[in-house]
């Protein structure tokens, strides 16, 4: 457990040192802020539903951009060899990097907390869905981080890692809107696999074990796949 926290600490420090992190934060805030507020005053409603509707799509691109360096950079500079010859297990490395990613993804959500505060000053804001929305955002972020981590473990090229991660996350996000492409027998399965509906459930403030289980299994699958990818590299 100690080793996990050391690895996580180091990765977090790296996140906040590297300029890419700040670029990603700026782009995230610009895109979400603009998309949300451009229609906010038109609807004239004091809620954040629109913000959380857009979040899975922006996360599908932003989170892989954050996680792309976690393994790919180490593979590219060769520091991977140093990491693997320190007395740590694969599991500790993966969990440490994963937790650092989740903390960073949560951190980029922090500036958006001014939106609900701002909206609450203008009208009656129902805080329930807002809290649910942020809880869902962290779960979704964790799931996408695990997927991005897996993509990063596959290649030494950060751009490839980003594209692979984004494609998987994008597919999961849009899956339940593409249901007309799938044959009837598997519709329910495909619908369940889509990330958006699970996220929207949580964001409405409904805490259902199925949704939580969905995100947990995505995290587990992503981390396990990353573990397999690391083993393959030996």
């Amino acid at each position: 457990m100690h080793q996990v926290s050391h690895i996580m600490g180091k990765e977090l420090k790296d996140f906040f040192i590297s300029p890419i992190a700040y670029i990603v934060i700026s782009v995230f805030l610009l895109v979400t802020g603009w998309l949300f507020f451009s229609t906010f005053f038109v609807f004239n409603q004091a809620d954040m539903r629109n913000f959380f509707n857009l979040l899975p799509m922006t996360f599908a691109f932003v989170v892989p951009a954050i996680t792309m360096r976690l393994f790919a950079e180490e593979l590219n500079t060769g520091s991977y060899e140093i990491l693997l010859t320190l007395p740590v297990t694969f599991r500790e490395i993966i969990v440490g990097k994963f937790l650092a990613g989740v903390v960073f993804v949560s951190a980029i959500l922090v500036p958006t907390l001014v939106y609900p505060v701002f909206i609450a000053m203008m009208g009656e804001l129902d805080w329930g869905p807002v809290i649910g929305g942020y809880a869902g955002a962290v779960m979704l972020g964790a799931a996408f981080t695990a997927i991005g981590l897996f993509a990063s473990a596959l290649t030494r090229n950060q751009i490839i890692a980003f594209i692979m991660g984004a494609v998987i996350c994008f597919a999961l996000t849009t899956m339940d809107r593409m249901l007309f492409f799938f044959p009837t027998p598997i519709l329910n399965v495909v619908n369940y696999l889509g990330a958006s509906s699970h996220f929207q459930n949580v964001a409405k403030g409904i805490i259902d074990s199925r949704d939580i289980l969905y995100f947990l299994s995505l995290v587990f699958l992503g981390l396990y796949a990353a573990h397999l990818a690391m083993q393959e590299k030996k």
Binding site: K10, S79, I82, L84, T85, P87
Partner: protein
């Protein structure tokens, strides 16, 4: 200490390391020599657990590489080739991180860091980013990284590459110093370095061990030709060759004329097992030449290396 049996590594079809066996005792300094692509780095990477062997056994102390990999990693300090450290980190942050992973805390950590800063000469660069360091400085940080936990086994892949001559001597001294109590394995392609630092030399060629012996034994092995270097004053080349060639088993060659200081350089090649030096000395004593240099050259490692690793 370290026992290796039938260690083999295939990259797809290419056999990088082919069934090598060796054993290393505690306190030995082993030099792993070989031409480029001979399998040195691959062997070291398997010893440190970075690569998984295709076949074979590695036992370090009582631990098996397959089962107790973390226990083994705790015993080993490893410096990979060209020290691939995190370029974005500060030297201090990096060493602090390694110390934490190596389970050093509080005073013990601070003390160890101070010791390593002195030992590896890191004063004045602790606040710099690793990426902006020169190759030699980076190598020193890597060395500090490898020695962080005061490991029982130190594995260094080309530790002196990219260092200037002064630094090479310093690093050699450090390695010798550590080698008194610890086991050191280092790979290099600089033969003089291996000769100066290592107790034992293992030469690898195309994934196989072609020589494995103590450094002094290795130098004496091979054919029984001795070479003697002579420098004489007041001597005439033709005369000198004629005189010295009368000694049994000696072929003499000389530089065509004495150099500006009036010194004539001669090389004697001697066959046979008898020591020809007394005879040479007696022959020179009988003349009025002044003997300024008289050196027997042991067969150097370079010749042995070339003989063992030349491509057929």
């Amino acid at each position: 200490m370290i026992q290796v049996e039938g260690l083999t590594k295939y990259y797809d079809d290419f056999c990088a390391v082919d069934r090598i066996d060796f054993a290393i005792q505690k306190g030995e300094i082993i030099g792993l020599l070989g031409p480029n692509g001979a399998g040195k780095t691959t062997t070291l990477r398997m010893l440190t657990g970075y690569f998984k062997p295709t076949a074979g056994q590695v036992k370090i102390k009582d631990f098996d590489l397959q089962d107790d990999i973390v226990a083994i990693k705790q015993l080993i300090g490893y410096l990979p080739e060209s020290a691939p450290l995190y370029p974005g980190m500060l030297v201090y942050d990096y060493l602090d991180y390694v110390a934490s992973i190596r389970k050093l805390t509080g005073d013990a950590k601070a003390e160890r860091l101070h010791r390593l800063v002195d030992l590896c000469g890191l004063q004045g660069i602790m606040h710099k980013t690793i990426g902006e360091l020169s190759k030699g400085l980076k190598q020193r940080v890597g060395l500090a990284h490898a020695m962080m936990s005061d490991p029982e086994i130190l594995i260094l892949d080309e530790p002196t590459s990219g260092l200037d001559p002064n630094q090479i001597v310093e690093i050699r001294d450090i390695i010798r110093e550590i080698g008194r109590e610890k086991t050191v394995i280092l790979s290099t392609h600089i033969l003089s370095e291996a000769e100066a630092t290592c107790d034992r030399i293992v030469i690898i060629h195309r994934g196989r061990i072609v020589a494995d012996d103590r450094t002094e034994n290795l130098k004496q092995s091979g054919s029984h030709t001795r070479r003697i270097h002579l420098a004489l004053q007041n001597a005439d080349p033709a005369d000198a060759i004629a005189t010295l060639s009368t000694i049994d088993g000696i072929t003499a060659t000389a530089s065509p004329a004495p150099d500006t200081n009036g010194i004539l350089n001669l090389a004697l090649t001697c066959r046979g097992t008898d020591d020809p030096r007394p005879a040479v000395y007696t022959a020179i004593k009988a003349t009025d030449w002044v003997l300024v240099e008289f050196v027997q050259q042991t067969k150097n490692l370079e010749t042995i290396f070339r003989e063992l690793t030349k491509e057929n």
